[in-house]
Every structure is written in structure tokens, then in C-alpha cells.
């Protein structure tokens, strides 16, 4: 269990606002935020690798705030470049063993188990230089886990990898978490990774925590426009409330109830948007007439730009639907979404 209590850090040009956070024993917690938001600083202050200017760090109930990093027994895995280049893979993995008080036989067993589990057997005599990105990251994981850490910190462990290795290591992480049952805390800027791995997610921006919640919570019910945009709500419109409706870009979105506060932003996920040639929407669906402006392939599907008066929506359609419907640029369509999927801020 990790408890951060009013943790704050001051660095030249950066400031981490007092952050309080509890990560449960055995949880996979993901800190999500754009580059430069202070994610790495939080990890390094848990590991004792940056000087903190205030607050408390507790792991498993023990106050670590003033302990040097070598006495914390917390594993850390960095994005890249963190293997000792002058040592072999085996020497890298066994680097920390001499500092951990454990039975040497047990330690050997543990190392062997890790090597087997991570498929490193054929690499143990090699030096890290010519390993692939995925292999390097496996060695880093083995090295960090060899010291029997109570917490494993992961700093963007997937970001520097090719897409095919990324998926592989992502699976490995999930497997290791299940196998060892220790607390994982990972930092990333990729929402998909977070969604796949995390039990809970914390969203951070410019050194301040924006929202903490389960993956589903954050995905479906972001607290503010920043989080909404970060989790892929690409349709964000500013507007105002008038006559029981939210007015944006000349369109009216009927409010289901009395506004709780003076909302100014409406957000909808692009994959929640439905396009039809006729206005025959069933159920409680808000819809507007519009024109398709642009169709862009995005790999998995197509992003469709639709203009309805002054509002430009972006919808996500899979290839088959697009072919069946035969949409083309310049077509007149009706655009709709379920009233309950829209978020107001």
C-alpha cells in the first residue's frame, strides 16, 4: 500500500502541488497525464530519488519520507536506457541481490523463476546493447522484481517500444501483477494502456491531480473538460444555457433536468455518435441535420467530420458501416447521440 500525504516537490521550473493519494495493497494504479505533468516526479519521490519539499510518503504503513532510496526496497522501471551496459543480462538481474537480506538459495530460486517467467534464458550471457526494446524491458522488470520489492514503480515502460513489443510487454505486466500480487504504480500518457492495465487511474495535469477513479469512471464520467479531452472525448463545444437547453454552435441540446451549475462545455465521445440518412432515430436520441465535410481513415476505422450549423462534430465509424451506408464527403446526413452520453461541464 502506498500513501502519499500532501506530497509536494519544488524543482527549477516545476512545482508539484500537494498531492494526497492512497494506492491499495496489490492494486494496479496508473497515473495518467501529458508529458511534463509531473508523473515521473511522483514516482521518483516514492522511490526517494528526488528531494521532496513537503509531505509524507508511506509504504505498507512505514514512513519512508526520510529514508534514502537504497533502504526503501522499491523497484523502479524506466522507459529506456536504464540497464547497466557494462554488465551482462544476468549480472543486471542479480545486481541488487547482495543488498537484500534473504536466503541465498531462495534468492537464486527467485531469479531463476523470473528468468523463466520472462523468457530470458537464452539472453543471460549477453550484454544489453544489442537486445531488442522488448527484451530490454523484460530484463529491467526481472531486475526490479529480483529484490523482492513491496511496490513496483513503472515510468512509461511501454512508450519507447515498437507497437508489437508494446502489446507483448503490456501482457507481461498484467501477468506479473497477477503472479506476484504486489502493488504496481505506473505512469503513462497513453489512455489505452491505462484502460487495459489499471484497477484505478489518476489523471494529473501540471503537477496537480485532476481526478481519481476506476478506469470506467474516468472513461465514462470525466470530471472536467481536461480529463474529458484526455480520455478521447473529441467533441467539445463551448456554449451556454438558455430556456432549458444548452446552446452551442447554433444547436440546442435539451437539458433533461434543471442545470445544477452554469455549464459552459458539452462533450461527446466520437464513437457514441450515430449517422443516418433519415431522421428516424429511435429512443431518446438528440439529433441534428448536417453535412459530411471530411472522411479520414484512422487505422481501425474512419473519422467522419460532420458540420451541423456552426458546430463541427467528429464521429468514428468502422469500415463496414461506412461501406454499407455508402457515405461520401458532401452527403447530407442526420447526426445523433443518446442524451445520456453527453457530459456537461
Amino acid at each position: 500500500m502506498i500513501q502519499l500525504d500532501q506530497l509536494s516537490v519544488k524543482l527549477p521550473g516545476f512545482r508539484l502541488h500537494p498531492i494526497s493519494l492512497t494506492v491499495e495493497q496489490g492494486e494496479f494504479f496508473v497515473l495518467l497525464g501529458p508529458t511534463g505533468s509531473g508523473k515521473t516526479v511522483i514516482l521518483e519521490s516514492i522511490a526517494g530519488l528526488v528531494r521532496i519539499s513537503g509531505g509524507q510518503v508511506r509504504v505498507a504503513g512505514q514512513d519512508l519520507t526520510h529514508l534514502p532510496p537504497e533502504q526503501r526496497q522499491i523497484g523502479i522501471v524506466y522507459q529506456d536506457n536504464a540497464l547497466f551496459p557494462h554488465l551482462t543480462v544476468m549480472e543486471n538481474i542479480r545486481y541488487g541481490l547482495r543488498y537484500v537480506s534473504q536466503d541465498p538459495e531462495q534468492a537464486d530460486e527467485r531469479v531463476e523463476h523470473l528468468i523463466e517467467l520472462l523468457g530470458l534464458r537464452h539472453l543471460v550471457r549477453r550484454r544489453p546493447l544489442n537486445l531488442s526494446g522488448g527484451e530490454k524491458q523484460r530484463v529491467c522488470l526481472a531486475r526490479a522484481l529480483s529484490i523482492h520489492p513491496s511496490v513496483l514503480l513503472l515510468d512509461e515502460p511501454l512508450s519507447a517500444l515498437d507497437p508489437n513489443f508494446r502489446e507483448d510487454i503490456r501482457r507481461v505486466l498484467k501477468q506479473l501483477h497477477a503472479e506476484f500480487g504486489i502493488t504496481f504504480m505506473m505512469v503513462t500518457h497513453d489512455f489505452n494502456e491505462a484502460l487495459y492495465l489499471a484497477d484505478r487511474i489518476g489523471i494529473i495535469r501540471q503537477g496537480a491531480m485532476e481526478q481519481i477513479g476506476s478506469a470506467e469512471d474516468i472513461f465514462l464520467r470525466p470530471d472536467n473538460p481536461f480529463v474529458a479531452e484526455f480520455v478521447g472525448m473529441k467533441n467539445m463545444f463551448s456554449g451556454c444555457i438558455a430556456d432549458g437547453a444548452f446552446v452551442f454552435g447554433g444547436l440546442h441540446y435539451p437539458l433533461p433536468e434543471q442545470p445544477a451549475q452554469p455549464w459552459t462545455v458539452l462533450a461527446v465521445r466520437p464513437e457514441d455518435i450515430i449517422l443516418r440518412r433519415d431522421p428516424g432515430f429511435a429512443g431518446n436520441i438528440v439529433h441534428y441535420p448536417g453535412v459530411i465535410e471530411q472522411i479520414m481513415p484512422t487505422g481501425l476505422g474512419h473519422e467522419i467530420g460532420v458540420r451541423c450549423l456552426d458546430a463541427r462534430f467528429r464521429a468514428l465509424l468502422d469500415r463496414r458501416t461506412l461501406q454499407e451506408q455508402g457515405f461520401g464527403e458532401g452527403d447530407r446526413v442526420y447526426l445523433g447521440f443518446e442524451a445520456k452520453v453527453a457530459r456537461l461541464f
Partner: protein, 287 residues
Amino acid sequence: MGSGPSVNGSPSAMTSEMASKRKVIFGSPFHVVAFACSTAVMLFIILPLLQMVAGPAPADLWETFKDREVLSSLWLSVYTAAIAALISFLVGTPLAYLLARRDFFGKKLVESIIDLPIVIPHPVVGIAILSLLGRGQPLGRILSSLGVRIMGSATGIIVVLTFVGLPFYLNAAKAGFESVPLRLEKVSRSLGAGPAATFCRVTFPLCWRHMLSGVIMCAARAVSEFGAVVIVAYHPMIAPVLMYERFTAYGLKYSQPVGVWLILVCLSLFLALRLVSLPIRGNHDPA
């Protein structure tokens, strides 16, 4: 999972790079100019040295070598330079590490101060050291009451050589420490190694070549010093001073052999050290 993509990618990349290099070789005006300039630079460095080494007759060389005065001056040159390099290494390493790893107020100033000995004219260095440690000065009097003589002693020579050589070691060692990613040290700490163990197991093994080349450069600079030494300690004579004395008293012919011996001693010394600092081949990856 395998090392396939990264390994397969490199050979083709290398051949295309080699092909593009080969294209440049033939005939562009740029290449002609570059070739002419490179040749001129090489000759400019090699010719005078070659002429000097080839100048004295072998008999003269042998004669000089038997000259006790020459031998002792060569020896003095070598060991004072070596001690200066050793002092730079001992005192300079922590400072170089500090400069490479920490940001602090006034760091730029400290770095400028370190470079000062490089830009100050050599005789001025000698005068400056004498004006601090000379017999008439307070600090000099304290030293001499402790039995330490600066003027006209090997101690004085070592002080001067350390003064002029230190920046070269500091800068090389600092560059070495900077070449070791900070993250490696952080990981080492997180794995349980304290600061000292981290330095011995990670930092030093990765940057000792930089440090050694810093020691070599420091010693090289020290051996070649003349202007400052001649002011602080004309006697005992280091090799450059002896050469100068023979040149002014007897002329070119008598100073040349001493110069040749100095060159040979330095070259063999530095060649040996360079060889030590070469990476051992085939030690990188047995696979």
C-alpha cells in the same frame, strides 16, 4: 519474441550509409579543397617534429642520453608531471562529479574559474604563484616555517604543473560523468546500492576511460609547461628548461637531442596509456 527486427534492420542501413559515403570520394570541388587542407594540416604538425627527430646524429643522441644532467631533467619532468596528474585526479574527481551532477548557484562562475589557468599566459601563472607562495609573502613564510620550499624546488614545480594541468583533468572527468545517464545511478540506488557502491559498480566502470584520458591530458599539459616553471623554479631543471638553457648557451644543435629524448619519453608514455584505455575488442557481446 526475438531480436529479429532490430538486428535485421542494421546491415541494410549500414550498406546504404557506406554507399553514400563512397559517392563523396570522387572529384567534387569540396573534396579537393578538403583534401588539400587536411594534407597541409598534417604536414604542418608532422614535418617540424620529424625534422627534429631526424636532425641529430644517433651518436649525439646517445651522447646526450649518457649526460647525467639530461637524464635527471627528463626524470624530473616525468615524475613532477605524474604527481601533478595524480593530485588533479584525487582532488579533482569529487569536484568534477559535483559539476556534472548538481545544479547550484554560481556553477557557471565555478566553471569559468576552472578554465582560467588555460587562458592565462604562462609566465603570469608563475608570477602569480610566487606572489602568493614566495618567500616574502605571508603564506610563503608559513610554508617555509613548515619546511616547505616553493621557489626553486620540485615542490614548486609540482604546484605549477598542477595549476596548469588541473583544468584538463576536470573537464575530461566532468564530461565522463555527464556521459553516464543519471537514471543508471538512480536505478542502482533503488536496487539497494548506496552512493559509494553505486559509484564503484556503475559510474566508475562506465567513465574510467574518460577519467584516464583526462589524466593523460593533464600530464601532457604538465610535461610541456615551460613559461611558469622557469619563473618559479629554474633549478632543479625540468627538460624544457634544460633545453632552453642549452639553446641560449650553445645553440640549436645542442638543444635538439634533449628535445628528441623528451618527445620519445612522452610519446611512449602516452602511447602506453592510450593502449590501456582502448576498449577491449570482442568483450561486448559474445553472441
